[in-house]
């Protein structure tokens, strides 16, 4: 069943490894294009010295593109790490809240505000609310 939250370009039928291979090939092609352009400007600059400035502009543009690509890759990795951490935290809180609920007969009345289980149940409630909101947003679409 397709997830309605998944839109954009990350919903692919191809295996991830092929996507990464294509990305790597495209990166090589991009670098070849950039190097060819800089080399061509350099050849031209041998006759028309004004073209040395064009070489400088091309090198600058190449740097901007490569730094942009690298920054994007780093940001994507950071987002993935943060998501993993948050999901791990939510799972741990749910497990702890489930244990606390099993041991205590009436958790709503008995629990103290300072107890650790209080915060775990609070997180569990917040997660439940967030999931409910997300579901209602998806239903609205």
């Amino acid at each position: 069943m397709p997830d309605p939250l998944h839109h954009g370009l990350n919903q692919s039928r191809w295996p991830k490894r092929i996507g990464r291979l294509i990305d790597a090939i495209c990166l090589v092609a991009l670098i070849v294009v950039i190097v060819t352009v800089i080399y061509g400007f350099w050849l031209r600059a041998i006759w028309a010295h004004g073209y040395y400035l064009a070489v400088a502009v091309a090198v600058l543009g190449a740097f901007v593109i490569l730094i942009g690509l690298a920054q994007q890759a780093i940001a994507a990795r950071d987002v993935a790490t943060w998501r993993d951490m948050a999901e791990w935290q939510i799972r741990a809180a749910r497990a702890a809240a489930g244990q606390a609920g099993a041991t205590q007969a009436d958790p709503d009345d008995e629990i103290e505000a300072n107890a650790a289980a209080y915060y775990e149940i609070l997180i569990g409630t917040l997660v439940a609310h967030a999931e409910q909101d997300e579901r209602s947003i998806v239903d609205e679409r």
Partner: protein, 98 residues
Amino acid sequence: MSGDPHLELGESLPRFLSHWLAACFGHFLMVLLPLITDWAHVKNATWPSWWSLLLFAASTSLVAAIINANLPVTPREMIKSVALGFALNATIVMLRLA
């Protein structure tokens, strides 16, 4: 949970700028490939001044950048911008507009 936000469609200024630069490189490739393949014959050809070449590439690549501004900045999408920049310049050369 939703997927990677860096791979979703949507226009933003960094995306516009990087696709614009990539399209400029495609444009330059079309201009410079004849020079690289047989540079002995093109040596004496009349060439535009470097700044007019840069301005021409920047202005035509704006079209490519506007079209591709919603694509993520990955090598796979940048290659498409390079190809579009190349194709736009090829169209202009074929039509002898400049």
